[in-house]
Subunit: 146 residues, 2 copies
């Protein structure tokens, strides 16, 4: 920890992230480090939190772009307030709830389908239109994203 803040290496040690990942996150607006005389990045303690938060949000299924958008509501260069975090956390909770609900619906439909051999796209309950919203991650984009 050099004077003036944490170095990128310090931050890497504290978060477990690779230095390259932290720089990458910067290009995506997750952190906004200052620079010292020599042009090296200097971080504040709040940046540990921003990164931790981003990591957790990723595990909840958010994309980096989505996380950055959410983070845009937090102060860039100082520690966010408790209510800042609370607000963002609540949105995340809503997201995870949705995901669970969709998976449960999928599971229930699969239960109905197991053994029925009906796996044709027109008739299978697993492929009902209202469920296409549940699409996430890789997959046939044309089909799932329009």
């Amino acid at each position: 920890m050099a004077k003036g803040g944490l170095t990128i290496g310090d931050l890497a040690d504290r978060t477990g992230l690779a230095v390259s990942a932290i720089r990458f996150y910067e290009t995506h607006g997750i952190v906004h480090p200052l620079r010292n005389q020599g042009g090296h990045r200097r971080y504040g303690r709040h940046d540990i939190r921003r990164l931790s938060f981003a990591l957790i949000a990723q595990r909840l299924g958010f994309s980096l772009a989505g996380i950055a958008a959410e983070m845009a509501h937090l102060p860039a260069h100082k520690a966010p307030s408790k209510s800042d975090w609370t607000r963002v956390s609540h949105r995340m909770r809503a997201g995870i709830e949705d995901r669970i609900t969709q998976l449960e619906r999928l599971r229930d439909r699969l239960d109905g389908c197991i053994g029925c051999g009906c796996l044709s796209l027109d008739s299978c309950a697993l492929y009902n239109p209202d469920d296409r919203l549940a699409a996430e991650g890789p997959g046939p984009r044309k089909l799932l994203r329009d």
Copy 2:
């Protein structure tokens, strides 16, 4: 539907997939079309099922490679039996159950964390080691996958 089976275009119409996607799936062992005199692919009706199955499995979080491995247990050029599908479907159900469980655990922990402002990697329950197994999808590979 030309004589001798379905064309790739027919299959695209029936499944909603792009023609290019079907060819791509072929390179990954999901379907194994025959060829006609002119070298064009000819599919059987069972291929609609194979593709449908692959699409559903993807939505359950399986990678193409994993799906292909599962599919290797199904007959390549004829319709799979009911018990073939049942066996594979059961494995899928196990996968989706796991996913739901992991998400629920994550949600419960998030509940405990909302508002506490504790989001630091060392102490946050969301980051407990035993949960790192739950890692899936993109994210910091160094951190989550070792």
